[in-house]
Amino acid sequence: MSLLLSFVSIVIFTAIGLSVITVLKALKKSSIIEKLSLAFGVGVGVVGIQMLIFQLLNIQWDVRVLLFPWILITFFLLVKNHQNVTLPYKTKNDLLTDKISLLIFISILLLIAFTTFEALMRPLSSWDGFATWLLKAKVFYVSDTINSEIIRYTESDYPLTLGLAITFMYKVIGSLNDKAVLLLYPTFYAALGGMFYVNCRKLTSRKVALLATFLLLSTQNLIRHGGRYEAGLADLPLSFYFFTLVSLGLTQLRKQDRASLILITLFAIITFTIKNEGIPFVIIYSIATLFFTTRKRNHVLSTLLIGAAILSWESVKRVYQFPHNIFLSTNIETYKLPHIFSALLNELINVQNWSGLWIVFMITTILCLISKKSYQTIFIYIVIYAQLCVYVIIFLVAGSNVVEHVKIFDRLLIHLAPIALLAMLLTLKDLKIINKFDNKSTEQYIQLSKKPH
């Protein structure tokens, strides 16, 4: 029963996300995979933020009260659009007709099924899961509130959105079941796969896009965080939000669309409320888009909104007396650099965790540097390397034992792994390597996807 209710809460997240996307009139021509994956991420984020706002406004965390605004919005949308309710369409050429594509597709489904099975096989077992993320969810659920005493007791300066979204799941389930709520993690894993496939499909043929998605999802570190022993952390969700933000940004750079920009702004706000590492990422992303976009005015507005949201979040942290944030430290200990780079290099070549992902990425970086490249490729590499620099700086300023601290590089690289794989594809496309394996060009696909069948 708990598992069923956990599934219901996932459906609720997705439905809420869909209503938000519909209200914003964004992604009108997107495929069903993209809409559902994105809607799930939006749903988790807005429910978490809604619970925090309700707490600040002293509104009770009752499931019915929490769902009321969303039911109202959905009802309004149904009344308004009752005559033109259409399912997201799919193009004829996206049907799985050849055997190789079908085989890869089945492998992807098996991976998702395996990760789900693994997540639900065991109760929570990841260290940071019980020390931070699910502890917060449990504390909020049991106390039915957030206050400075609780925040101090959890000893964590991390944002609250993910913990509150899990608290919402506990509310829907009606009890504390830390096994059932782990269903959230394979869902993030599947949603990441969905978003990744859709974005690869915009660049290349179905077969190559499926193959790239398979390579991403069969990466052992992602499988572990999706369900096998490491479910319960925030790194896989953050990876989903990073990738989705960048992919939305890439689309936005190509075709400027105000509705999508609002969605991107919302997504950026959700991203930095998942984990602290989201704040520098969102800042880097905003600066990079501002640099590459042609419509600066809209992007400046979006950046200002994101900046205001970051400041609001910092104020909330003061209200609840969050512990000290290492980002605010200015004591840079350069003697740590050799340890940091050696640990980073060791992790990049760790085939056990990443297969060939980072090794190929490093070579494609060199290829990108010495070849003609598109502005999208430059954008994506800037974002990846700037965020990697941030991680190095965090290790330099953090007052912890560096030898122990750098062991978390395997988790930090998860945040960037899907973006790195997409960057690889972009480089291979710039070099016309993947075009040789394509059945048809990207332009043809884009044209086809504009015309519903």
């Binding site: 098996l110 019980f130 502890l135 449990k138 193959l211 096998r228 297969s355 060939g356 060199i366 290829l367």
Partner: protein, 139 residues
């Protein structure tokens, strides 16, 4: 420069061609774990799974839980950080504090009011599966 570029292109294609079957085999290996590893887990209850995952730490936490009330504060004297974090998670809303500057492992003081004013009442010793767990209960 062109020579370097063509060499790197070949290296990338070669690595990707290794990467695909490597991940294919990894996927098969992962799926095989359902039979080789997970069969032992499927039959276990959630409590048994927790004991299997956290071993004697979980048994120790269960002992604390049985010996204390919801309003109690518990001081764990142990070098093992994991037992503290697990206790903090599993025993909430009971308040858990950690003293890591000790040599012993798994020794808890259960404080109902204030440790400095309390009088030792009794020592709880529980033997589970051949291991001895100790806690001191204060009034």
């Amino acid at each position: 420069m062109n020579k370097i570029k063509s060499t790197l292109k070949i290296v990338v294609i070669f690595l990707i061609l290794i990467w695909i079957p490597f991940n294919g085999m990894r996927t098969m290996y992962n799926l095989s774990k359902i039979y080789t590893e997970e069969m032992a887990w499927i039959r276990l209850s959630d409590e048994e799974k927790r004991e299997k995952l956290f071993e004697d730490r979980y048994i120790f936490i269960q002992m604390i839980d049985e010996e204390t009330k919801i309003s109690d504060s518990i001081n764990i004297n142990s070098q093992d950080g994991m037992v503290y974090y697990l206790a903090r998670y599993y025993l909430y809303p009971k308040k858990i504090y950690w003293n890591s500057q000790v040599r012993t492992n798994y020794y808890a003081t259960f404080d109902k009011n204030n440790i400095s004013e309390s009088v030792m009442n009794r020592t709880v010793v529980r033997k589970v599966k051949g291991k001895e767990f100790k806690g001191v209960l204060y009034k």
